[in-house]
């Protein structure tokens, strides 16, 4: 196992009844690199995220987080191991304020975690969140109710919240879906920042152009199997990938 690997997936299999969602899926995520997963609808991308983050238990195979076996661990355990994720569509505590969401993401289960994250007090957490929001050009009031923000703002906020947990690995489910060009470029800024900070990023994305421009590796999933694991430059050249991606 390479020392730079932050997350490793080994021979993951998952079936729902007779339907194979994932079959013998293996790969590693490297530090300071972005890996993209592409594939047609139903290829198993989100199931893979759910398996890695503990929301779904695999039938077989292993998930290692920083070389520790985290297979079958609960989502909260996986999150505490330094893996943060976003969901298809935005998930936030919608009827809570932006500030409450920030304090939740930074503080986690206890106020002591503010300290563990280097966020000495709630005020520091807010300052850090403000910095992140400023980086992506998001100007929102802290006392705004999160659910009342626009979709793009909610998306940026949910991504900014990911960083507050000081994760080593980030799993982003379709970060560019449903947002305008300005938000796409803001998200790209955030992704670059995270790679500079040495974080591993796994992105599910349908936007091939964005995938090619931001990622270091591209994994192509087809019907639960890894069809290819290639460099982004090779994506457009491979007929099998294009056929696989366009299927469905």
């Amino acid at each position: 196992m390479e020392s730079d690997s932050t997350l490793s997936v080994r021979s993951i299999c998952k079936k729902y009844g007779g339907v194979v969602a994932l079959s013998d899926v293996s790969f590693e995520l490297q530090r300071a690199a972005i890996t993209a997963i592409i594939g047609a609808n139903g290829a198993g991308k989100t199931t893979l995220f759910d398996v890695i983050t503990g929301f779904t238990k695999p039938d077989s195979g292993h998930v290692f987080v920083r070389h520790a076996d985290a297979t079958g661990a609960s989502p909260e355990c996986i999150a505490r191991l330094g893996v943060r994720r976003t969901f298809q569509g935005v998930r936030l505590a919608r009827r809570l304020s932006v500030l409450d969401n920030i304090l939740l993401a930074a503080g986690g289960t206890s106020i002591n975690r503010f300290e563990r994250c280097g966020l000495k007090t709630p005020n520091c957490a807010v300052r850090r969140a403000s910095e992140i929001l400023a980086i992506v050009g998001l100007r929102i009031a802290l006392d705004e109710v999160a659910g009342k923000l626009s979709f793009g703002e909610q998306k940026l906020l949910s991504l900014a919240l990911c960083e507050l947990g000081e994760p080593t690995t980030l799993l982003l489910d379709e970060p560019f879906a449903g947002v305008d060009a300005a938000v796409v470029s803001a998200i790209c800024v955030l992704l670059r920042r995270w790679t500079e900070l040495g974080k591993s990023i796994l992105v599910i994305e349908h936007n091939i152009g964005a995938v090619v421009s931001i990622s270091d590796r591209v994994i192509v999933l087809e019907r639960g199997r890894i069809l290819k694991n290639v460099k982004p430059a090779d994506v457009g050249k491979d007929d099998q990938i294009l056929r696989g991606f366009l299927r469905g």
Binding site: T53, R80, A93, L96, L99, L103, L104, V126, R139, L142
Partner: protein, 297 residues
């Protein structure tokens, strides 16, 4: 005059009960139908601990709170494995089971005859006997419960409970152990309900199973919903309104027995009116909370 103090005492006890339920149903968003069961366990525990174990009332109430917290934690651990309507049914089942135990464990609870002659507390060498003497301690404890509730509302603990209510997968993805926090909410809620039950038992000096029925659980839930789920002030106002309503009906010349029935009608009517006019309750939850000094945006 003592009647007025009696009403004040009932308002205080119901305010504690409503605040206790608000922690589970308001903050954590779990519509529990078992609050009267915890209220009853607290009341019976205090009655038995003072009469049979000879504990002073204050210690008996503390012991009852701890014991009920443990029971509530177990009920929480079991019932929160279910989702939504199944969770409600699970808490309803616990309420029915507990009432049945109160009614049938005759050797311990006295069955339908209940327990009488419950010891009253002594403060500074004086035994509290009158409604007036009780009003100070009851209101002080109700106010303390309100402060605890408000603290929870504004703490990281309360924030987490509300996040769990809003979006459980989101909360889990932040590393929050959802079940632990739900069980903690149940335990705290159970302890406070036991405080209300203990006060009721020692104040009235007589308890029987009819005070801890499913209808009572429903009444407390109504207080919290009408007052405003997730708002501590709302829970107190709900308790105030629903305790005063039957007393006001009594004041305008409706016989006691009829007033009790009309109370149920008033409950129903209020629910319908609130659902139409103020779906979030009379005092809606404060969604945007006080700011932390931001030094930023």
């Amino acid at each position: 005059m003592s009647y007025a103090f009696h009403v004040v005492n009932l308002v205080g006890i119901y305010a504690i009960l409503a605040l206790s339920l608000n922690i589970v149903s308001g903050f954590a968003g779990l519509l529990s139908l078992s609050q009267a069961a915890f209220y009853g366990i607290g009341a019976y525990s205090v009655a038995l601990a003072t009469l049979h174990a000879g504990l002073p009332v204050s210690l008996a109430i503390l012991a009852a709170m701890l014991a009920t917290a443990a029971v509530a934690a177990l009920v929480g651990a079991a019932s929160t494995r279910f989702r939504r309507d199944y969770f409600v049914i699970a808490t309803f089942a616990f309420q029915v089971l507990t009432f049945s135990l109160f009614n049938n464990l005759v050797a311990i609870t006295g069955g339908p005859n209940g327990i009488s002659g419950i010891v009253q507390p002594r403060i500074l060498g004086h035994t509290l006997t009158s409604s007036r003497a009780f009003s100070g301690p009851i209101l002080a404890l109700a106010f303390s419960t309100f402060l605890v509730s408000t603290w929870i509302e504004n703490s990281q603990f309360g924030r987490i409970l509300r996040a769990v209510r809003e979006d459980e997968p989101f909360a889990r993805s932040l590393g929050i152990s959802v079940s632990l926090f739900k069980v903690s909410a149940f335990a705290i809620s159970g302890a406070l309900a036991a405080l209300a039950g203990g006060l009721y038992a020692t104040y009235i000096t007589y308890i029987d199973p009819t005070s801890f029925t499913f209808a009572e659980s429903l009444s407390v839930l109504t207080m919290v919903i009408v007052g405003g789920l997730g708002n501590s002030c709302g829970a107190v106002i709900g308790a105030l309104l629903f305790t005063l309503a039957p007393e006001l009906l009594r004041a305008i010349g409706i016989a006691g027995g009829t007033a009790a029935n009309i109370r149920q009608v008033v409950f129903g009517m209020c629910l319908v009116v609130v659902v139409f006019l103020r779906p979030a309750g009379l005092f809606r939850e404060k969604l945007a909370r006080r700011k932390v000094q931001s030094n930023g945006i």
